[in-house]
């Protein structure tokens, strides 16, 4: 049974790419960032975060690098690659197109 609030894959990819476009982060920081940006609305389960990151890495859109955190722990930091940047633009455009279309349908009668 899928949770209604679970963000579907495409949108999660989009968000992750966007977050990493701003600065390289490790998984934990990404999960915090996701929460802080979107508030409680977009609850990405922490379990589905890592497979999503893994997928993006395998696609070559993000790349991981082991570095020290500010409190001297080893963590895998992800950053956007150049193909990732292109993918982000593509996904953002796609999202814009779809969300406009959906909003259009939803607001049909009010308009």
């Amino acid at each position: 049974m899928s949770k209604p609030n679970d963000l579907v894959q495409g949108t999660l990819d989009l968000l992750l790419l966007k977050i990493l476009a701003l600065e390289p982060l490790h998984g934990w920081a990404i999960s915090l960032r996701l929460k802080s940006i979107s508030g409680a609305v977009l609850q990405v389960s922490e379990g589905s975060l890592y497979p999503a990151l893994h997928k993006l890495e395998q696609e070559g859109w993000i790349t991981g690098e082991w570095k020290q955190t500010e409190n001297n722990r080893r963590a895998k930091f992800y950053s956007l690659t150049r193909p990732g940047r292109e993918q982000l633009e593509k996904e953002a455009a796609n999202w814009a197109r779809l969300s406009t279309a959906i909003s259009h349908v939803v607001r049909l009668e009010e308009a």
Partner: protein, 898 residues
């Protein structure tokens, strides 16, 4: 996908494939880090450690599950699919291991034969010169009315070098010649192969010595000034044990001290195909190594002994170089009308040089290439046929897979993976077969003191070609069956496994396969049979002289600076004393015995009273210089007139002996004895023909009868001669007595090529060419084997497919003989058709072979009388076995057969 994408993904995939453990560990570490952070957060919010840990684990939705999910994501689907396919293919291949083994062996033979063939072709024709930018190196040749590949003289070379603009340099080199080599001045010199080259040789070729330096351009300017030498890599290794201090040392070549200035690199075996020079000397030192004392090599414009090669300028086309050289040749002709009459010049590429029509190897290669391709083709059709049959029997399995939703593409890929795997195995085994064949070719050691090497080797080029062949054959063998069997009608496929829906077209294809196979094999067999017969006939006919009880030894007194008079006296004494040695029945001298090593000289002459055509000055024929003992010792019969006598001295009237072919050619119908020929031109020295010798084979056992002239040594002095001793016992026992004789005459004179004539003959006339003949014979046998197996497989398959039909027929009253007739009839028709086509192809090939090799003339009926019926018989047998099995099927069993 953009290429830069791969930049990131490929290393990742490789890593997940090969560093699986590292990847897993990092995954653990990453998730662990997250959990710890989460727990810290939970504890900061007032939870106990245990509560925080539980909450963290809950948030993760099961750690192991996530890890599994991530493993799946690692995106090596295409690879895992491929591995799956390969795994599946392996399983199904193992299930039918008999068939697999057969297919692999078949392919191995086909690919191996082709690899061996290719290595031969590559070695003899395609392998580029071992220098940088080999394709810009061209060969300049002097052309005459009867030779399109003549050499240039030293003076001509200098003119070419000085007056052409097309090249980055033109180099000249002499032939590899025997040179007396010793390190100490007192030691007996040994004969080694040296080569005279121009000073710019190494510079123009772009070859950097591995030690010391190459020649300088100015080192061939002043005759006799620069006694320097560059060693060949093999010679350096064997003679000096790779001692680097050799540079700067002096060695003695033909008695003169030479300073070693460098060693050629390992990568440069020289520019010749079979011979690797032991050392190089500058052209200006030529006087020391002159072969022809009557000529002044450095001055005479008609002493044409140099092969000239040049490196084309980057911007110059072959045509431009050609035109420039043609103009130069015209100038030569104008300035030296006597010496350069009708002489042109041409620029030839490496390919043209190697395929010049007077190389026998070239013709042999064409036949060999055609045949080895034919073997591969037969092998491939065979395998395709087998896979096709197999695909038929797997129809049900494929139908099930299709019904379960496998895509057609996926299935084709799966089937192709199978044939690719087969081809891989076949290719690997084929390389082994090819390697064996090449090793076999290499085992033939040439009995010569010159450094002869056969250029066959299994190098990267051959391997690459074999792999390409494997891949191609996989595609060829696998694609048709894959396409066909996945075009299964689902319902029919599931309903009954092996009942073929009658399809004329499909049957037609398979029948065509059998016909093609039978005809190909027949052609192969005919060809190999013809070749063997032609060869053995040639060997049998090559008697005409006695091959046994003959010892040979080569001498060259020039190595010790003998003058012509000394040389004459030496040979006179040598033969006299040799004849007096116990165990020697007779002794004779020759430049080169028939079917021995090396090339005969050519004699230019005009038969007296002959009106020469306007465009030519003389005729030429191969010739030998012999003494009076040669004919009796060699056992060549004098048919009319006399042989040479001791009285044919330098002061006596000039005489010659011609062979029967020569006599028939120039004086048909009349006796040649008493006729005269003039040497060089109509105004040249007159020589009387005093005898006609029996025509023998001179260069190879399969040659056509050739014109041949003998001149007496006393009237035509040659320094480098071969002594022939006819022994009463084992000729080898004469070696020591002979050495004593020579030592008594001159202790410093080297003896070379001391061996029995039989050894040389066996190598040169029997084993050498025999290798090729045996190979072709092998291919014929392999072809036949393949055809039999193919036919058997096909008929057997046909029978198994028609088992139900046969059962019905038998239930309806047909007897075993009817069934036999039914099954055999089809096979008979196919074999008949294949035989007819194969016969036609065999005839065509025979014409080609006659044209190129044997000139036996006409069609060799015996070959067909033997080959065709035996082929027919054997293939029918292949059809009979399964047919008989079919006729014994019990009707009930057949009807139940599924």
């Amino acid at each position: 996908m953009r290429p830069q994408h791969w930049l990131y993904t490929i290393p990742l995939r490789l890593r997940s494939l090969f560093r699986r453990r590292d990847v897993e560990q990092e995954l653990d570490e990453e998730l662990q880090f997250h959990l710890e952070q989460k727990i810290e957060e939970g504890m900061a919010n007032g939870l106990s450690e245990k509560e925080a840990r539980n909450a963290a684990m809950r948030a993760m939705d099961g750690l192991e599950q996530r890890k599994e999910e991530m493993r799946d994501l690692r995106g090596i689907h295409w690879l895992t699919d491929l591995l799956d396919d390969a795994h599946y293919a392996m399983r199904s291949l193992r299930r039918t291991w008999g068939l697999t083994a057969f297919v692999v062996i078949t392919l191995a033979l086909g690919i191996g034969m082709s690899a061996a063939g290719f290595s031969m072709i590559d070695g003899l024709i395609f392998r580029p010169y071992a220098v940088p930018h080999p394709s810009s190196v061209v060969t300049l040749v002097s052309t005459t009315h009867d030779s399109s590949f003549d050499n240039f003289s030293y003076r001509e070379y200098l003119d070419i070098r000085g007056n052409t603009k097309s090249y980055d340099g033109a180099i000249a080199s002499g032939a590899i010649q025997g040179v007396g080599f010793s390190v100490e001045s007192g030691a007996t010199p040994r004969v080694r192969g040296g080569m005279l080259v121009s000073g710019n040789y190494f510079r123009v070729l772009g070859v950097d010595p591995q030690l010391g330096r190459g020649f300088r351009d100015d080192e061939d300017e002043v005759p006799g000034r620069n006694a320097v030498t560059v060693l060949g890599p093999d010679f350096w290794k064997h003679e000096f044990a790779s001692d680097p201090s050799v540079v700067g040392r002096t060695i003695r070549l033909n008695g003169t001290e030479f300073t070693v200035i460098g060693v050629a690199p390992e990568t440069f075996p020289g520019m010749l195909m079979f011979l690797r020079p032991d050392f190089y000397m500058p052209l200006a030192m030529a006087r020391l190594f002159s072969v022809n004392p009557q000529k002044n090599f450095l001055e005479d414009r008609d002493d044409r002994e140099l092969s000239v090669q040049a490196r084309l300028n980057p911007g110059t086309t072959l045509q431009q170089a050609q035109n420039e050289l043609a103009v130069l040749a015209k100038n030569f002709e104008r300035e030296y009308p006597k010496l350069n009459r009708d002489r042109g010049a041409a620029v030839r590429t490496q390919f043209e040089t190697r395929t010049r029509e007077d190389y026998i190897e070239w013709k042999f290669i064409v036949i060999f290439a055609v045949l080895s391709l034919a073997v591969l083709l037969v092998a491939c059709t065979n395998v395709a046929g087998l896979l096709l049959s197999r695909a038929q029997t797997r129809k049900r399995e494929i139908a099930v897979r299709l019904a379960l939703g496998a895509g057609r593409f996926r299935l084709i890929r799966m089937l192709l993976t199978e044939s690719l795997l087969l081809a891989c195995f076949g290719g690997l085994a084929g390389i082994a077969v090819g390697y064996g064949a090449i090793r076999f070719l290499q085992t033939f050691s040439v009995p010569s003191e010159l450094p002869v090497t056969l250029p066959f080797q299994l190098d990267a080029r051959v391997l690459l070609a074999s792999l390409a062949l494997s891949a191609l054959s996989a595609l060829f063998c696998g694609l048709a069956p894959a396409l066909q069997s996945t075009r299964v009608d689902l319902v029919n496929g599931l309903k009954s496994a092996d009942v073929d829906v009658p399809g004329r077209k499909r049957l037609w294809g398979r029948n065509a396969l059998v016909v093609a196979q039978v005809s190909m094999s027949l052609m192969l067999l005919t060809a190999s049979f013809l070749m063997m017969r032609g060869f053995h006939n040639g060997v049998a006919a090559a008697t005409g002289f006695a091959k046994d009880h003959l010892l040979m030894a080569r001498f060259d007194p020039r190595l010790l600076q003998y003058n012509p008079a000394q040389t004459q006296r030496f040979y006179k004494l040598l033969t006299e004393r040799a004849r007096a040695t116990p165990g020697v029945q007779s002794a004779g001298l020759t430049q080169r015995p028939p079917l021995g090593l090396g090339a005969f000289d050519r004699l230019a002459f005009v038969p007296d009273g002959f009106q020469m055509p306007r465009d030519r000055e003389n005729y030429t024929a191969t010739m030998d210089t012999v003494d009076e003992g040669f004919f009796p010792t060699m056992g060549i019969a004098i048919l009319r007139g006399r042989g040479f006598q001791a009285s044919d001295t330098a002061d006596a009237p000039r005489v010659a002996v011609v062979n029967e072919q020569f006599a028939k050619h120039y004086w048909p119908g009349t006796d040649a004895v008493g006729k005269h020929i003039r040497l060089e031109s109509a105004s040249g020295t007159s020589v009387e023909v005093v005898g006609v010798a029996q025509t023998v084979t001179y260069r190879e056992t399969t040659e056509k009868p050739t014109d041949f002239v003998y001149l007496p040594l006393a009237q035509h002095p040659i320094a480098r001669m071969l002594l022939l001793l006819r022994s009463s016992g084992d000729p080898r026992q004469l070696i020591e007595p002979l050495k004593d004789v020579v030592r008594a005459l001159d202790a410093n004179l080297p003896i070379s090529e001391t061996r029995t004539y039989e050894d040389v003959y066996r190598y040169n006339a029997v084993e050498g060419p025999g290798v090729g003949v045996e190979l072709v014979g092998c291919m014929g046998a392999v072809g036949l084997l393949l055809a039999i197996a193919g036919l058997y497989g096909l008929v057997a398959y046909n029978v198994s497919r028609r088992t139900r039909e046969i059962g019905i027929r038998m239930a309806l009253g047909a007897g075993p003989s009817d069934v036999l007739r039914l099954v055999m009839g089809k096979g008979l028709a196919l074999v008949g058709m294949g035989t007819v086509i194969g016969l036609a192809m065999g005839c065509a090939l025979e014409q080609l072979m006659n044209f190129m090799l044997f000139n036996a003339g006409g069609v060799d009926v015996v070959a067909y009388v033997i080959v065709v019926p035996s082929m027919f018989l054997v293939t029918m047998l292949a059809a009979y076995v399964p047919a008989r099995r079919a006729s014994r099927i019990a009707p009930t069993q057949a009807l139940r057969y599924e």
